[in-house]
Amino acid sequence: MTNKKIIESDCGNVTILAGDDIPNKIFIDDAAKNQIEKLCKDEGDNSFLRIAVMGGGCSGFQYLFGFDNELDDNDIINDWGSGRVVVDNISMQFIKGSTLHFLNDFNGEYFQIENSLAKSQCGCGNSFSMDM
């Protein structure tokens, strides 16, 4: 049985196949927390990291990262005292249960979302597809 869930958003209804059993939250590894604290401190103005999911990229959806300092009513906040990551409720339905990593290897230093809801993803992991 699939748990179809319909969410109303500004751009129409979004149907998502993910189960209701996954809590509306993401996990953040220590390297990602450190990097978020550093970037947001440089950015100033009580900024936090906002992650959103939009249509686009070579695999159908893509993650957007940005700084923000204003919260909306439908935001879900992940706060660990020295840093915050905010995801709006619609985007959260595409990434809930994910882990946000910050990777630092030879060819790059970048955030990557390990998303168990994604069916496939682009080489760099920034674009992904889902069962709809």
Partner: protein, 116 residues
């Protein structure tokens, strides 16, 4: 003339990363993969290049071009930059490619160019 050029900022990052990994050289290659056909590979090596290798040197570090990637990389510039503050990586301005993935990690090569 060198096969590729490397920006000052990219050399700084190469020095930083090779030192952190106790390596002397980085071998750059191209291999089939990704949504656009090819991707760049970076392999850290503990040794200096051989005399017949294709390489660039700055300070005590070397960038070696894999011979099979020579034609694909000819005329490219290696730089260190990001799509935004959240993603920084080595990238190439490569005149031989015909299209690339949004994140520039995967690309297609002009079909007139072969590895040998």
């Amino acid at each position: 003339m060198n096969i590729i050029s490397i920006t000052v900022e990219a050399w700084d990052k190469i020095h930083e990363k090779l030192e952190a990994q106790n390596s002397i050289s980085v071998l750059i290659g191209v291999k089939p993969s990704g949504c656009n056909g090819f991707r760049y590979t970076f392999e850290l090596l503990p040794d200096k290049p051989m005399d017949d290798d294709i390489y660039l040197k700055d300070k005590n570090h070397y960038v070696i071009i894999d011979k099979s990637a020579k034609n694909y990389l000819q005329g490219s510039e290696l730089y260190w930059d990001g799509l935004d503050s959240f993603s920084k990586r080595f990238m190439f301005r490569n005149p031989n490619i015909t299209s690339e993935c949004g994140c520039k990690e995967s690309f297609s090569i002009n079909s007139n160019i072969s590895s040998s």
